[in-house]
Symmetry: C2
Subunit: 248 residues, 2 copies
Amino acid sequence: MARLKLIVAYDGADFAGWQSQRHGNTIQDQLERAFAAICGETVRVHGAGRTDAGVHALGQCAHADVTRPRIAPERWIGALNRHLPPAIRILRCTRVRPSFHARYSARAKTYRYVLWNGAVLPPFEHKRAWHVAEALDFGAMSGVLKRFEGEHDFAAFSANRGKPAESTVRSITVARLRRAGPRIIFEFTGSGFLYKMVRLIVGLLVQIGRGAVEGDEVRQRLSNSGARTTRTRLVAPAAGLILVRVRY
Amino acid sequence: MARLKLIVAYDGADFAGWQSQRHGNTIQDQLERAFAAICGETVRVHGAGRTDAGVHALGQCAHADVTRPRIAPERWIGALNRHLPPAIRILRCTRVRPSFHARYSARAKTYRYVLWNGAVLPPFEHKRAWHVAEALDFGAMSGVLKRFEGEHDFAAFSANRGKPAESTVRSITVARLRRAGPRIIFEFTGSGFLYKMVRLIVGLLVQIGRGAVEGDEVRQRLSNSGARTTRTRLVAPAAGLILVRVRY
C-alpha cells in the first residue's frame, strides 16, 4: 500500500463540483474512475476542499491509497491523465507518509477570485470570471480589504449547510486585491474557509465598490459575533473562483 | 443605409469556423442570425478573413449594411451581444464609409500562435494552445524566424484550395517569437496570408525546434519559387491560432 499525494488542476465549468455524487459528473468521480480503470479496483480519492460546481482549481490537492507501491509516483501522472478528460489534469504526484491527509493535514489554502470589470466580457473569460459591467470604486474595495485579515467570526460570510454547532471562526492571513486591465483579482489565504465564504466576501466587496453598501459594513458583519446579517447578501458567482494552492 | 464596421472576438473551439455553411454552426452564421433577429431582415456580414474551425479571434473585423442608419453604432454592440452566444462578442462598432470593405480594405493582419511546451497541458489551455510535450530548441526556432520576414513565395506554406492560378507571393512584415513560462508565442503580421500559412510556418518551426528538420529548410522552401515541397509538412493544430487584429 502506498499513499499518493496529487496536485490537480481543473476547469470546473462543465463539472458538478468536486464531491462525488450519485448521478453527478464531479471531479472526484472522474479521478476515482481513472484510478479504477488503471488499478482494476475501487480507489477512494480525498480532496483538500470541496469546490462547488463551476469553481476551478490550479492546485487542488488530493490523496489516494494504491495497492501498487512499486509504480513510481511520477508514472501515475501520465497514467491518470490518459484516463481523465482534458479539463482535469494531474500536475504532480508524490508518495507521502500514511498519516498525510489532503484535508486534515492542510495548513493553508489560497483562493483567487477573478472579476471582469468592463463593458463586454471577452469570450476567453466566459465561465472564468464574474462580469461586472458597471464602474467599481477600486479604492473603496481595497480600503476595506485588510479588515478581513486576522481571526474573525465569519458567520455572516458563510452559507448554512445545516451544521449550526460548528465554529464559524476562521483566520485569513492574507487578503489581496489588484487590477490588471479590466480584471480585478482578489486573493485570500487562510487556514480554512467556510462554505461560500470567499464568494460572500467578494460579493460584499462588489456591493461596496458599487456604492450600494458602506465600507463600515465589513466591520459590522465581522464583529456581529455569529449573528447572521439581515441585509441581502450577494454571492459572487462560482465561475470566478479558483483554488490556487494548498499548503501543508 | 449605413455600413457598420465590427470588431469581433470569439472562442472558436465550438464553431465550424468563420464562413457560413449550409448546416454549419459558424461565426458568420451566428452574426447574421443576430442581425436578422434585430432587423427582421437578412443582413450579410463580411469578414476580413475566414478563420478555420477551432481558430480564435481577439479582433476579427467585419462589415455589414443596415437599413436603420439612425441607430447609434455603439448601440449595436449591446443589441448584437444579447443575440450572440457568450463565445462570440462584439467589442466595437463604428459607422464607416460605404466604400469600406472588411476584406478588401484590409492592409495588414496579425496572427498569434500559442504553443504549450510542458509535460502536462493545463485545463485552461485546452483548445487554446498546441501541446508539445517534448523539449524544443528555442534558439534554433528563433534563429530562423526572421527569414520569413519580407516578400516571399509562400507556396510551400499553403494548402491547396483548388486555385492554382492565384499568386502565392505574400509579405510578412513582422515575425516574432517569445517565451512566457512554458508558453511559446509566435506572432506574424503581414499584408495577407495564404490558407493555413501560419499553421504551416509554425509546424515547420516546431520540426526545427525538435531537431527533426534543419534550419536551412526555411530558406529552401521560401526560395523554391512556387514548387511544393515533397517532404512531409506539419500543420500546427487550429486550436493554437488567434487572429489578433486587422489594420486598415
